[in-house]
């Protein structure tokens, strides 16, 4: 059955179940809504759920078992029809349709949240296997403690994660040091100072920054920002003459991250009840005092979430780093030197020319898994901070 017909059939069945389920209970109650346990619509939805739920489940199971085809569709259809009949019989006025519908919705909600878990599991598993393979080919001590990253085609590679880890942290830190203040202040300005009109323009405008393809940022870093920083900062300060640098990539990435902080924080700040602002104003607090001492603490969880999201993007970014900071792995404190990140190397080792079963390629998975664990640590810390300092209103 083609996808189109499948979708149509499912929709038709659902429609029929809704109409019939509703009509059936209304006739049983002789049209008296008050005699029903739940709203008529609930009875309709209950019928829809019972009709579609098991049938879709069956179809999915059959698909997974490799039984796609007309037979599976027919089986699912038969089950749906049987379920429809059952659902209609179940729809008596004292049937707790709302509870049934809500149980169904809850199941859907739980299912949805399992997807996030399943994704995590999938990612960890898909990396774990190859990582084990990698460590069977390459000494883990070398990987974790070596300060040299130098893959070679002829073997003899040195695959130490330290310079990459350092580059990742350094670049992300600079990016956040730029994006968080700018984004947060922009959010504060938009939600607390700017007029409605200005906010309505500025907020979506800043959001475009999140949608500009990263290659544009990369080229911007390469062509404009890099040489600028080199000629005006790095060389006068005697910090080297590299156009690609941690600073270049960090700043440009910071620009990209502005809307992550500004838009999400703006929403959360706007959600803080006005009565809290009033309370502070009435004590003679200035707007900035109100914001800093009352609103921001109340909006903390959302703001931390926004910052984490920005940090995540910074850690996961490739193009800007490649073009802005270069591809050379290096351990250095000088922000005007070229460095690179774990993510860049994951991408390049995965899309490179090495033998796909060689440690030079497999190292990507070990890098990915390590990065996963590192960011997990950061997130645990962030959660702890939120727990500690959150101020729950009302």
């Amino acid at each position: 059955m083609s996808p189109f017909w499948l979708v149509t059939a499912v929709l038709a069945l659902a429609g029929a179940a809704y109409v019939l389920g509703r009509a059936r209970v209304l006739s049983a109650a002789a049209g008296d809504h008050r005699a029903l346990h739940s709203l008529p619509a609930h009875y309709g939805w209950a019928a829809v759920q019972l009709t579609l739920g098991p049938a879709l489940l069956l179809y999915l199971l059959l698909l997974l078992a490799g039984q796609a085809g007309p037979l599976a569709a027919a089986a699912a259809l038969a089950l749906a029809l049987a379920a429809l009949v059952w659902a209609l019989r179940r729809n008596t006025p004292d049937f707790r349709a709302r509870n049934a519908v809500e149980r169904g919705m809850m199941a859907v909600l739980i299912l949805a949240s399992t997807i996030a878990i399943a994704t995590t599991a999938g990612i960890v598993l898909s990396m774990l296997f190859e990582t084990r393979h990698f460590f069977s080919l390459y000494d883990w001590r070398e990987f974790f403690f070596s300060a040299t990253w130098a893959p070679q085609f002829q073997g003899r590679s040195q695959l130490g994660i330290l310079p990459l880890l350092w580059g990742t942290l350094y670049i992300s830190l600079i990016a956040l040091a730029f994006a968080v203040p700018v984004g947060l202040f922009a959010a504060i300005y938009m939600s607390e100072y700017a007029g409605r009109r200005m906010r309505a323009v500025v907020k979506p405008a800043l959001e475009i920054l999140a949608g500009i393809p990263t290659i544009v940022y990369g080229l911007f870093a390469l062509i404009t920002v890099g040489p600028l920083l080199r000629d005006w900062l790095a060389q006068p300060l005697g910090l080297g003459n590299s156009a690609s640098s941690v600073m270049t990539a960090g700043l440009v990435m910071g620009i990209m991250l502005i809307p992550f902080v500004s838009s999400l924080s703006d929403d959360i700040i706007s959600q803080v009840p006005q009565s809290l602002r009033d309370g502070a104003f009435a004590l003679g607090a200035t707007r900035s005092e109100t914001i800093r001492q009352v609103i921001l603490p109340a909006a903390l969880p959302g703001i931390v979430g926004a910052v984490l999201l920005a940090a995540s993007r910074a850690i996961g970014e490739t193009m800007i780093v490649v073009l802005g900071a270069g591809a050379a792995a290096r351990l250095s404190l000088n922000p005007f030197e070229a460095m690179t990140t774990i993510t860049v190397k994951i991408v390049s080792q995965l899309t490179g020319d090495n033998d796909f079963a060689a440690p030079e390629t497999l190292v990507a998975f070990a890098l990915g898994l390590t990065l996963f664990l590192v960011t997990l640590g950061l997130n645990v810390a962030a959660l702890a901070i939120v727990r500690r300092y959150r101020e729950q209103y009302e």
Binding site: A150, P151, Q152, F153, Q154, R156, L219, L222, I223, G226, P227, G240, N241, S242, A243, S244, V322, L323, G326, A327, A328, R330, E337, A338, T340, V344, S348, Q349, L350, T351, G352, D353, N354, D355, F356, A357, A358, E360, T361
Partner: protein, 318 residues
Amino acid sequence: ARDQVQVAGSSTVLPYATIVAEIFGESAGFPTPVVESGGSSAGLKKFCEGVGENTVDIANASRRIKDSEIEACAAAGVTDIIEVQFGYDGIVFASDIGGNAFAFTPADWYKALAAQVIVDGKLVANPATSWDQVNPELPAQPIMAFIPGTKHGTREVFDLNVIERGCKDSGAEEALAALVGDDAAKTCTTLRTDGRAVEIDGDYTETLSRIDSNKEGIGVFGLSFYENNASKLQVATMNGVTPSTETIASGEYPVSRPLFFYVKKAHIGVIPGLKDYAELFVSDEIAGAGGPLAEYGLVPDPELAKAQAVVADETTLD
């Protein structure tokens, strides 16, 4: 059923493959094949994923398939692989059109880029900062080389045919062997990381932009890329030879690598047009001298007939 050929693999081969695919779709009566680019390794990995409609038919590669990969392929049921070598990718050294002209030897590159060199019998960090220090005949221009990153197959060729060769030619290898023993080869190909050798993990357009913003840089390019941008770049000679399709095909110019594509024999006859596409690819009108591929910059394989035979007979690797 899938009705178009699916190709994956090397980004170096990609332009050639798309030229062929375009012509194939226009005139052969089959849909235009889909050509993915994701790198030789990723392409071969997909190729070796198994046999069936949802696996690719052809993998392009800018290097030969490795034995370990063949084994992995076999483990997944991909056994009959047809290997087709259809030409060469020339690798050239070029700098900004407005700057100095260069005539290199591999030894110059070795001396300029090695991390450590022997000075007065001791191994020290490479002190060279400008080209005339490694070879008085070169211009006094600071050393700034944009070389392929370690993900690129070009880097392997560069390491082997330029750096290692230069290490040997300059006599450094022997001296190193005496000094560090078995590590000599490794010391030869370890490049400096003080910012004078900049690795490019992106593509040639990135190298070009870097030269644009740093006019003293010298970059490594594919021949076809250079030829399309000859108005911005000037090419350096290597051992006195100017790179061109002719000098590379004849072997005079030393730096090049062969290009391949691999066909899944099990798919021939299942996926319509698969064999026709492969045949068109290696036909004289397309891949021969004067054909569209050569026009774009491919160095035609002097032994193209061999490739045609391989395709015609569906000769598999053993």
